[in-house]
Every structure is written in structure tokens, then in C-alpha cells.
Symmetry: C2
Amino acid sequence: MSKTSLTRRKFLAAGGAGALGAGFAATPAIASGAREWKMVTSWPKGAPGVGVTAQRLADRITLMSGGKLTVKLYAAGELVPALEVFGAVGGGTAELGHTASFFWQGKAKASVFFTTVPFGLTSLEHMAWINQGGGQELWDKLYQPFDIKPFMAGNSGMQMGGWFKREIKSLDDLRGIKIRSAGLGGDLYEKLGATAVLLPPGEIYPGLQSGLVDAVEFLGPWSDRAFGFYKAAPYYYWPSFNKPNGTAECLVNRQAYDSLDDDLKAVVANACQAENAVGLTEAEWENARALADLVANKKVEVREFPADLISKAKELTPALIDGFVAGDAMAEEILKSYRAALDLSQSWSRVGREAYFAARDR
Amino acid sequence: MSKTSLTRRKFLAAGGAGALGAGFAATPAIASGAREWKMVTSWPKGAPGVGVTAQRLADRITLMSGGKLTVKLYAAGELVPALEVFGAVGGGTAELGHTASFFWQGKAKASVFFTTVPFGLTSLEHMAWINQGGGQELWDKLYQPFDIKPFMAGNSGMQMGGWFKREIKSLDDLRGIKIRSAGLGGDLYEKLGATAVLLPPGEIYPGLQSGLVDAVEFLGPWSDRAFGFYKAAPYYYWPSFNKPNGTAECLVNRQAYDSLDDDLKAVVANACQAENAVGLTEAEWENARALADLVANKKVEVREFPADLISKAKELTPALIDGFVAGDAMAEEILKSYRAALDLSQSWSRVGREAYFAARDR
């Protein structure tokens, strides 16, 4: 195993150890009443999807504020490492962060519910839970001890199931396979008989080539194509029972946020809401285009997961999640709210969106 | 037939005759550099969904601008009638309007493609077409001759099929039925053998009671419950093959928009994008809650449309739309773009969202 590859548990612990001691320093005024804020991110410079979204978010705030609040973006590693964004914002090294909540489960276990959950809410349903179903209040409460105010600020949308070197004809074919996976999705693969390995994005393709892993579950066609996974693993499986959503978050240092006048508070909140929606539609559009290209020009074999695999995964998920939250009162409270939102959304989707898709595909 | 009820064609013609002659007057400055804009709407004061969205949109702009641009909202009829919003904004009577594009097909036929289309794009797919697929550029081009810049600014989401007094067990049961419906959806009901009648919202419930109509296709459970349709027509059908989306639009007088500095242009655009997303998630959340309530507490019979009705409706739709655009070059150009977006989105939904719903419902 490569020295830089990590088991999931170690990777999360490393993220968890990233808290910075630096206190929040007053923002320097660059003109009368003007501020300059730093936004640290977990993404490589200009990364398709998340990197572009982070830059647009910074630009929206800068432009709308009319020069009163200028945001400068830092790619992963430029100011702090990718997995120290949470600590850097809470500690005041940067006023803003753009990242994903499931990186922080070593600090606050329940953070995993604010990115994506196996067999959980789709993007629109997740956004409705945050906006209308009490999700935002719980998220605020979860991050409050870390001096952070979170906003949804981007979304990678519906994912794919993953890339496999060999065809998966039944659940048995998963046994013993080493798959790159993350979070609760990785835990679920372990329950299904595979071995989950968390590799940072840059190491996945080499890992597939070298045989370090036999499969990879990452994002959707847009992002996956850019990483070239199809060159080493030709079978691309659907549906993504593991990651039906992909919320990105904007973290704001609480003291920095509270120091803003109401107009600039609204500028930050609206910029996040606007980019959350536009980032999502961009991901959906580009995923659709990339999938068509992968099939037409890259000889990718697009396959449906076998029924016994999906059934077993669905059967195992509730107990897996119950076990994950057990003993953490905050995680138990958030799971309760999440499940209520899921019940409600699922009932409506059955006769709404889901039934419509079936009619349209007739 | 009630004197105020109208056939669809007359209703649209009335909307089409609403252009106002008033030229655009310079906005009065209420303080140094401060402006006050009027927003006229097609909605009753505080109407669930659209009315709330319009008020929040006005408030977002006012708050973010820090007093530089204050927006005052006018309900339908307060300044101009509901169906004169387009002419009022283009003519400069108001700088902003909040309405829905399918009201304006008497002026610009292709406007119908920017609200919802039978067997067309779902909300997320529609937003992706507008944001990334060239839809915004075509919409701008369509409204340019009317001196209007359009933005998406709210969404009533996935709809239901409609309320019927009697059970619909096959396509035959639709023959001769008088149904309240609108736009291309109404045309489709006519092709299916029903008679489409366009009644303004306030006249639908009395019309159902009096027997003027036997059925009503309006919006989703949230809005439909408020109008009390369930008291006169107990069968509530799904899926909504007619209206899989419900985009609301913010119209901006072109000269007024061009007169803004870049920061305020961005404030208006971001406010629309933010409210577009939040309005949509609110509709989805409240529709889910209202449907559960209608079933549990209002004794509503929720039924699936018979298969032969859905199949026939799908079969008839392409020719219906081709006939609608025929001879209108702009409408033909927009339909071509819309259909390309639909093909792309449908391919991705099949292995993405749609397949995921099936796995989750297993």
C-alpha cells in the first residue's frame, strides 16, 4: 500500500486533528469600511465542479458588496491543507471556508448527515430539509461549539455507483474487492463484504492502475471523466445507492459573520443560496454531457447493479446508521430529523417526481 | 357559464392586449444615489407559494442593497391587473414584475417553454437548461423586443395530475369531461377528448361546485389544498404528465436594469437565483406535507392515472407541440434547444435520479 494512502479511520482522524490554535484577528480595513476576507478550500485550484463553485461564490460576494467585502480564494494547501479548513475557519486563520461536511465527522460525528447519506435524501429533498425542515437550525447547533456558521454552497448532485475493473453480476462478486470509498458509503461497502480504502483524489487513478484498489466510488461522470478512471476500470455502475446528493458547504467564522452589517450578512447568505443552486444545475448538466461522451467515445460499459446487491445494501443501511450515531446525543437528534424528512420526501416523490419519470420514459 | 369565465383562447388574448403605453420614467432618488423600484405581480396578496416568493424576492434586493435599491411590492390589481404585468414592466410603469411566462404566449408564443411543458423537463432539468444549456440566452432574445430582461425567480415544483369528481378508470372516462386547465396542458386535454376551460384561480372552486367544470388541473397539494378543491372533487390523480415544473419569472425593465451599477445588477441576479432555489424547496416541502394531510385528514382518494391515458397523452404530445410552434421561427428555435436539453437530461435521469428512486423504494 502506498505510504500516502490511508484507511478511512486514519484519514478522518487526521482531519480531526487539524484544529488550529490561532485566534480570530480583526479583519484589516483596506479602505473606509472595506474588508478583505480569506476563503480556504479543500479543493485543488480550478477543480471541475467544487473548485469552480468556490471561485464563483467568492466572486459573488465581492461583486455584490460593491467593494465593501472582497473575498480572496486559496486552493487546498495554499494557506492550510485540504482537511484543516474546518479548524482554520473556526480558529480565525480564514474568515471563510469552502468544503464538505463529511470530512469533519472526527470532530462532530453528525456532520456526515449534511453532505450525503446512503439511501437518503436527493439534492432537492436535502435542500428542502435544510431550508424548511429544521436542518439548518440543527447544522448551526452542531457547528456552534466550533465558532462556525454553515451554509449550503454548491452541490455535486446525483452520483454514479462507481467504476469496477470486472463486471459485478451478483452480490458475491463484491466479496474481497478493494474499493475506494468514503464516509458511511465506505462503511456500507465493508458490510457488503468489500474492503473500503480512502484515497485522496490525486491517488485514485494510480491506485487503480497499480492494483491497490479494484474499484472506485467517487462522484459523477463530469468529475470522474476528468480523473480518467475509465482508462483503468471500464465498468461504470448505477444507481448510486451510496451518494444520492453532494452538498458543499461554506463555513463562516462566527465572530467575523456577527461583525457584518445586515446588508453584508444578506450578501453572504444569498451568494451561498445562489451558488448552491447554480452549482447543482451545472453538475447535473455536465454529468449528463459527460455520461453521453463516456458511452459514445470512451467505450465505457454502463451497467445496472445486480438486484441482490441493491436489496442487501438497502437492508443493511438502517442498522449501520443506527450503530454509527449510537451514544452521540447530537447525532441521534439529527438522525431523527433527517429520517422524518426522508419519510415525508419519499411519500411525495413516489407520486410526484418518481412517477413522472416513469410516465415520461414510457 | 359564468360571465367571468373565459375560454383559454380569449383569456390569452386578454393577456396579450395588456401592453401599456407609458414610457419608462427615471426612478426617483429617495436619498443620495438611492432608488425605489416597484414590483408588480400576477398574484393575490400573500398567496401561498408565489405571493410569498415575490415578497421575499423584493426583501432580498432591498436588504442586500443596503438601502441603495428599495423594492415595493404590489399584488395583482393594486397597480396593474394580473395579466398586464408584462406590458407594465416593458413599458416602464414598474421596474420589476413577478409572474409566469406562459401568460404571455399571446405576445410571444415561445414564452410557454419557460414555465412548463407536458412530458418536458423537471424543475432541476429546466434550471440546468436555463443556466447551462443556452436557455437563458434564448429567453433574453425572446423578451428583448419588449424591453424586458427575464430571470427565473421561484418555482412551484412538481405538480399533481388534477382533481376529478368521478374516478377515471380508462382514457374513455375523460371523454366529454370539462376540465379547468391552462396552456399546452389544456390543449393536450382537448386532444384527449376533454374540454379545457381556463378559469382564474378564484373561480375554480365555485366552478367545480356549480358543475361548470368536472375536474381541475391547477398546481400541487400545497396550493390546491388552500383552494379547497378536495371538498368538491375527491379523486386526486398522479402523475402530472402536464406540468412537471413550475418556473416563476422576475421581469426587469431593460433600461432600468442597464442603469444599475454592477453591484446592484449582481444583487438583482443573485436575489433571483437564491429565491428560485428556496421557493422551489419550499414548494416541494410544503407539497409533501400537504399531501400527507390531504390523505390522512381530508379523506382524499389519491389515484394513479390509468396506463392507457398516460400512453395516449405521451403519444399525442410531440405533434401537438410541433403544431403549436409551426410558422413561428423563434418558437421553433427554442423548441429545438428545449428538446436537445430534454434528450440529454432524460438519458442522465434514467441511470441517475430515476434509478435511485427505484432503488430507494425497493
